[in-house]
């Protein structure tokens, strides 16, 4: 069976692992990440978002993750079904859960609320120009920014590879569908977050 490529576990685990396993891992990760969100003051306030704030209530990251996963699942299901009616909902659910893992890992970057403090320090230099720009804060914010970009690329790659696999689509149709799904999922999650809080 030469045609089956050696699976790329990091960027396309959907090719190799069965949906039950992916869903169990994804659900456990979502619960753990919600607790991490509470401990590290992280809010998952959007399908592709993670922001750090001063304090977080324990239930907030759970609701955030629920909204984000629901938004991804709903929009990607609609787009995947349009691309290929044979697409199974269970596969889309697995993708919606697993694609968020990079975002969950990023919560560790706010250890000791460092990201939030840096953000505040840099914000003060904008509102109060007389203040000196703290260089250590700038360097750390560049490092965290780079980590965030890497996590975003990883997450988007997982979503793209997942949609490509489960809908068996290629070319322009897939790219347009994916961009459409990504924007709509983000917009829907933001709207629900806005309506709830």
């Amino acid at each position: 069976m030469n045609k089956i490529k050696k699976s790329n576990l990091l960027f396309n685990p959907f090719e190799r692992f069965r949906e039950q396993r992916l869903i169990i891992v994804g659900l456990i990760a979502a619960v753990v990440a919600s607790l991490l969100g509470y401990f590290f003051n992280g809010r998952f306030d959007g399908a592709l978002d993670l922001h750090f704030t001063h304090t977080v209530e324990i239930w907030e990251p759970f609701i955030d993750n629920l909204i984000a996963i629901f938004s991804l699942f709903l929009i990607f299901s609609i787009v995947a079904k349009i691309l290929n009616p044979k697409t199974r909902f269970v596969d889309i659910f697995a993708i919606s859960l697993i694609a968020r893992l990079p975002l969950y890992l990023l919560t560790f970057s706010n250890f000791g609320n460092i990201q939030y403090e840096i953000g505040q320090a840099l914000f003060l230099t904008v509102t109060e120009p007389a203040r000196n720009i703290p260089m250590d804060a700038v360097i750390l914010s560049v490092i965290f920014g780079a980590l965030s970009i890497l996590a975003a690329i990883w997450m988007i790659t997982l979503l793209y590879n997942g949609l490509k696999l489960v809908s068996n689509s290629k070319g322009v149709k897939l790219i347009v569908g994916f961009i459409f799904a990504l924007i709509l999922a983000e917009a829907l999650s933001k709207l629900i977050v806005y309506l709830i809080y």
Binding site: M1, K3, I4, R16, R18, E19, K86, R88, N168
Partner: protein, 90 residues
């Protein structure tokens, strides 16, 4: 096991059977016979079809056997179906 060539190494056109022989009595039949459609598929697709039939036509069983996910196996089957449709229209 020797692989049956299905396309011309020179121009890539589909090959035909021009000679068949009996290994028991050495009778040789000359002619021009088209290869069956399934034999015109690449070897790995033929192997997939064989395994798929032996699995009772179950994609879930195939996924387990190949240690791949269900959509991966379903896509392989869809690609084979597309190839067969193209061969039928040629």
């Amino acid at each position: 096991m020797k692989k049956l060539p299905v396309s011309c190494p020179s121009c890539a056109s589909a090959l035909q059977v021009s000679s068949l022989s009996c290994t028991s009595c050495d009778t040789v039949i000359q002619g021009s016979y088209s290869l069956p459609m399934l034999l015109q598929l690449p070897q790995e697709e033929q192997d997939f079809i064989l395994e798929f039939v032996l699995s009772g036509g179950s994609l879930k069983a195939m996924a387990k056997k190949l240690d791949r996910s269900y959509p991966t196996v379903r896509n392989l089957l869809d690609d084979i179906i597309e190839n067969l449709k193209q061969l039928r229209n040629e």
